[in-house]
């Protein structure tokens, strides 16, 4: 029985592999996979690579997000940053904690984006799916509990 584990990741592709593997361990695989991937991709894009919410929307609109992520992953100031995921499982609930090496963000003041913003929905969707979601004060570590 897997009770606890730690994963480290740098790229979105690594995050997909981890989320799919962990999703397969629980009955509601799609929900777990979705929640973990959203949080892990946030940790990479907004955390480690420090791409702000509004710049991300502009990059999405211009079709330039992939190139910007690749560019930042190779930059000396970002390339050694690692994000991590801790898993703590009990019989009926699992706590997943995602952390990154970025400066954090003001999670207290994040709004749900309007229809004109093509990004920024992940967090509010994860909140709806989870039993609880909580950030550390800095905003670079988030814990979500899922059944």
């Amino acid at each position: 029985v897997l009770r606890s584990a730690r994963f480290e990741f740098r790229t979105r592709e690594e995050a997909v592999a981890i989320a799919r593997w962990l999703g397969a361990l629980v009955p509601d695989s799609a929900c777990t996979e979705f929640a973990l991937l959203e949080l892990m991709i946030n940790a990479i894009e907004h955390g480690n690579l420090e791409i702000g919410a509004h710049p991300k929307s502009e990059l999405v609109r211009a079709g330039a997000l992939d190139a910007e992520i690749a560019r930042r992953l190779a930059e000396p100031c970002y390339r050694d940053r690692v994000a991590w995921l801790d898993v703590l499982r009990s019989d009926d609930m699992t706590a997943y904690t995602v952390g990154d090496s970025g400066p954090g963000f003001a999670w207290q003041t994040v709004d749900e984006p309007g229809p004109d913003r093509p990004s920024g929905r992940g967090l509010s969707l994860v909140r709806q799916l989870s039993d609880s979601l909580a950030f550390n004060p800095t905003g670079n570590v988030v814990t979500v509990r899922l059944r």
Binding site: V16, L37, G63, P115, D116, P118, S119, R121
Partner: protein, 96 residues
């Protein structure tokens, strides 16, 4: 995978497998073709992420934010759950 076909003034974007951040490039390429009305056929989509939601909003924007010009067809399972949770059923026509 993203495939586009066209009949008269309607373009159909058919996505299969995972509709996620890895579809961004091909979805953008489909949008660049321009069209009067769009159908997004999601019958073969098994999973969507928030990046896919962003792409659907870009399509809506490209169609002048006119709900009559974009239809999302055959979204079921996780994709439909996520669309409804994100309130996309209020911004798009979701067809069975």
């Amino acid at each position: 995978m993203v495939q586009t076909s066209r009949s008269h003034d309607t373009a159909t974007i058919r996505i299969s497998g995972r509709f996620d951040f890895r579809c961004v490039k091909s979805f953008h390429a489909a949008l660049d073709q321009g069209c009067a009305t769009w159908v997004v056929d999601m019958s073969a989509v098994e999973y969507i992420d928030s990046a896919a939601l962003g792409l659907l909003l870009l399509l809506r924007e490209r169609a002048g934010n006119d709900p009559a010009r974009v239809r999302i067809r055959h979204a079921n399972g996780q994709p439909r759950d996520v669309l409804v949770m994100a309130k996309f059923d209020r911004m798009f026509v979701l067809e069975d």
